[in-house]
C-alpha cells in the first residue's frame, strides 16, 4: 500500500500551479510550499499540475524546479515528480553513468512484473532514443554485462505453473556451481534471467530444503561482487519488500546513504512503502520516519517524511 497522502478535497491543478509559481517568486524558494503540494499528489495529479503550469506560465515546471532547488532535496523532488514508469527509466539511465550502479539496474529488472519492465523499456526508448539493453551493454563489461543485459532483456512467463522436477534439477545446478565458487557460470545466468518468478521461487525452495539458504551461500566467506549482485537479484525476485526494508536499514546506518533513501522512498511511496515500513519496524523496532529524521536534515528530511506518511 502507498504511504502517500492526498488532501480531500484536492485543489485544482491550476490552483496548485499558481501556488508553486508563488513559491518560486521573490528571493529564494518557499520549499515548504513545494513540499506541501508535490509530496501530496499522486502521479496523475502531478502530471496535471505540470501541464497546468506549462499552460499558465509558458515554462517547464521541472526545469524550474531544477533551478530553484538544490542538493539531495532537488534530486528527490526531480525523481518524485515523474510518473512511476518514467521515473524508473530515468533512474536506470542515471545508474548507467560512469560507475554503473548495478544494484539499481538489478532492482528495476527484477522487482517489476514482466509487463511493468516492458513499460519501462518502452519509455526508455522514447526518452533516450536508445534501448535500455543497448545502454546497459555498452556501459558494462564481462560477467556483469552478461548478467545485467540478461536481466533487463527478459520477458518472463508470468504464470503460476511450476515444474518440480525442473526446480530440483536447477537447484542442484545452482548448488554445484556455488559450491565451486564459479558464480559467473552461464547456467546461473540462464536460470536466474529466463525462468518465471514462480519457477524460481520453487527452485529456491528446493535449494533451501536440500542445501540451506542460497543467499547465505552466496554471501559466504569473502564473497565477490558478482556473487553479491546475484544475491540482490534473488532477493528482488523472491522478497522485494524485505529487500527494500534492508536497503533502508543500511541507508539510515551511521553515514546516511541519501541516494538509497531517496530511491526507495520515492519509488515506493505510491506503491508499497507501507508494507516496507512495517518490515523495517519489525526488524529494527524503530519507525522508519524516526530513523530517517535522525540522519537527514532540512527540506530533504521534510520531503522524505511527507512521503513516508504518519
Amino acid at each position: 500500500m502507498a504511504t502517500l497522502t492526498v488532501p480531500d478535497p484536492i485543489p485544482s491543478p491550476a490552483e496548485d500551479a499558481e501556488k508553486l509559481r508563488k513559491a518560486f517568486q521573490g528571493w529564494g524558494t518557499d520549499e515548504k510550499a513545494v513540499i506541501a503540494i508535490l509530496a501530496h499528489r499522486d502521479a496523475a495529479q502531478r502530471e496535471q499540475i505540470r501541464l497546468a503550469y506549462e499552460e499558465l506560465y509558458k515554462e517547464n515546471l521541472i526545469t524550474r524546479l531544477e533551478s530553484e532547488l538544490s542538493g539531495h532535496f532537488e534530486r528527490a523532488v526531480y525523481r518524485w515528480i515523474f510518473d512511476p514508469v518514467e521515473r524508473e527509466a530515468i533512474m536506470a539511465n542515471v545508474a548507467l553513468k560512469k560507475n554503473v550502479d548495478y544494484q539499481v539496474i538489478i532492482e528495476i529488472a527484477c522487482v517489476n512484473s514482466p509487463k511493468e519492465l516492458l513499460a519501462v523499456k518502452q519509455t526508455y526508448h522514447a526518452r533516450y532514443k536508445h534501448s535500455l539493453e543497448e545502454d546497459v551493454a555498452s556501459n558494462t563489461i564481462g560477467d556483469f554485462r552478461k548478467l545485467l543485459v540478461a536481466l533487463v532483456s527478459t520477458y518472463r512467463y508470468d504464470g503460476e505453473e511450476t515444474n518440480t522436477g525442473l526446480a530440483k534439477s536447477e537447484a542442484k545446478i545452482l548448488h554445484d556451481v556455488i559450491e565451486q565458487k564459479i558464480f559467473n557460470d552461464d547456467e546461473v545466468i540462464r536460470i536466474l534471467s529466463t525462468r518465471s518468478k514462480a519457477q524460481l521461487t520453487a527452485t529456491f525452495n528446493c535449494y533451501k530444503d536440500e542445501y540451506g539458504s542460497i543467499t547465505k551461500a552466496l554471501a559466504g566467506e569473502s564473497p565477490n561482487e558478482f556473487a553479491l549482485a546475484l544475491r540482490i537479484a534473488i532477493r528482488c525476485i523472491t522478497s522485494p519488500k524485505k529487500y527494500f526494508a534492508k536497503v533502508l536499514r543500511h541507508g539510515v546506518d551511521s553515514g546516511a546513504d541519501e541516494d538509497a533513501l531517496t530511491r526507495v522512498i520515492v519509488m515506493h511511496a505510491e506503491k508499497d512503502l507501507k508494507e516496507i515500513k512495517e518490515m523495517f519496524h519489525k526488524r529494527t523496532n524503530a519507525a522508519l520516519g524516526h530513523a530517517v529524521a535522525k540522519v537527514t536534515s532540512g527540506d530533504y528530511k521534510s520531503f522524505l517524511l511527507a512521503l513516508i506518511g504518519d
Binding site: V149, Y155, Y157, E161
Partner: protein, 318 residues
C-alpha cells in the same frame, strides 16, 4: 527385364503426384486421372511400374515405399499448411515455428530469421504468444534447449527489444564497425560467435544503426562483413537478416526451389511467402530479380503444383 515404357499419360500423373520434382501436388490433374482411368486397373498397374523409386516390385505386386508415403504426405500437406499458417495470427505463427525448431532437430537459422527480420513489436508479440501457447518464455526455452556455443547469441537475439527510431550516432557506428573487424580478424580464445563485443553490437543496437555500421564496414575494409564472416554459423545469417531481409529471403526461396532440396529447405518456401506477403514481398521480388535474373513468380509457377502453387502466386503476386 526391359524398362517399362512410360506413357505420356502416366508421366502426367506422376508429375501430378510431385514425382518429377516440384513442390505440392496437382490436385486437379489427380482427380481427372481418377475419372479417366475408371475401371482400368491395368492403367494404375502401369503407373506403379513406371513410378520408379516410389513403388518397388515385391513378388507379385508393386509395393509402396515408406519414404514415398512420407514424401507424399508432405507434398499434399503443403496447401493445408500454407492455409492454416495464413489464417493464424503472425505472433502465433512465429511462436510455433520457434517451438518447433527447439523440439525437433530443425535448423536454428529459423530462430535467427524470426528474431532479426521481425520488428521489435512483432518479436515482442511472438514472445507474448509463446507465453500463452507454451507456458514458458521464448528465451527460457531457447536457453534451455540450445546448448551449443551459439546459444548465447540466439538467446540475446530473441530477447532483443531494439530501439526503432532513426536516430543514429555516426561516430559510434564507425567505431563499432572497427570493433567488429577487429573481432573477426583477431583469433581469440573463444569462438567468434561467443565474442562479447560481437554479441553486444549485433544483439542490442538498432537496425538503422547496424545498417550504417555495415555500410561503413564495407567502405573501410573493402569487403562486406558478410564476406568476412564466411561460414560462421548463425553469425552470417544474423548479419544478412539485420542488413537486408529481402535479400536474405530471396536466397532462402531460391534454395527451396532448387533440385534436390531437402525437406526443411523446401518447407522454407511456405514460411517465407506466408510471413512476408504483407510485409516486403515487393522488395523480395526485386531482390530475387537482381540476384538471379528471373521473375520470382515465373520460378514459382515452374516449380510448384496445384492449389499450393495457386496459393503462393496469390500471396506473392500483385
Amino acid at each position: 527385364m526391359a524398362l517399362p515404357l512410360v506413357t505420356e499419360e502416366c508421366e502426367a500423373v506422376i508429375r501430378a503426384f510431385s514425382g518429377l520434382g516440384g513442390l505440392g501436388v496437382d490436385e486437379k490433374a489427380l482427380v481427372s486421372a481418377l475419372g479417366k482411368w475408371r475401371r482400368q486397373p491395368e492403367k494404375r498397374a502401369q503407373l506403379r511400374k513406371s513410378f520408379v523409386g516410389f513403388f518397388t516390385a515385391d513378388g507379385s505386386f508393386e509395393r509402396c515405399e515408406d519414404d514415398y508415403i512420407r514424401y507424399l504426405k508432405n507434398e499434399f500437406a503443403r496447401f493445408k499448411n500454407i492455409m492454416v499458417l495464413w489464417a493464424m495470427h503472425p505472433w502465433e505463427r512465429d511462436a510455433r515455428w520457434v517451438h518447433h525448431v527447439l523440439h525437433k532437430p530443425l535448423p536454428l537459422d529459423i530462430i535467427v530469421e524470426i528474431a532479426c527480420t521481425r520488428s521489435s513489436e512483432e518479436l515482442l508479440g511472438a514472445r507474448k504468444a509463446y507465453h500463452a501457447l507454451f507456458h514458458h518464455s521464448l528465451e527460457e526455452d531457447v536457453a534451455y534447449h540450445v546448448r551449443e556455443n551459439y546459444s548465447n547469441l540466439l538467446v540475446r537475439l530473441v530477447s532483443a527489444y531494439r530501439y526503432e527510431g532513426n536516430r543514429i550516432n555516426k561516430e559510434m557506428a564507425t567505431s563499432e564497425a572497427e570493433a567488429l573487424y577487429s573481432a573477426i580478424k583477431t583469433p581469440g580464445v573463444k569462438k567468434l560467435v561467443e565474442n562479447e563485443e560481437v554479441i553486444r553490437i549485433l544483439t542490442t543496437r538498432s537496425k538503422p544503426h547496424l545498417r550504417v555500421t555495415f555500410k561503413h564496414y564495407k567502405e573501410k575494409y573493402g569487403k562486406s562483413i558478410e564476406e568476412h564472416l564466411g561460414d560462421e554459423l548463425c553469425l552470417r545469417e544474423t548479419v544478412q537478416c539485420l542488413d537486408s531481409p529481402p535479400k536474405y529471403f530471396s536466397k532462402v526461396i531460391n534454395k527451396a526451389l532448387k533440385d534436390g532440396a531437402d525437406k526443411n529447405t523446401k518447407d522454407a518456401l511456405t514460411r517465407v511467402i506466408v510471413s512476408r506477403a504483407d510485409v516486403d514481398m515487393k522488395e523480395i521480388k526485386e531482390a530475387y530479380h537482381q540476384q538471379y535474373g528471373a521473375e520470382l513468380e515465373d520460378v514459382i509457377s515452374k516449380n510448384t503444383l496445384g492449389s499450393y502453387r495457386d496459393a503462393l502466386l496469390s500471396l506473392a503476386g500483385q
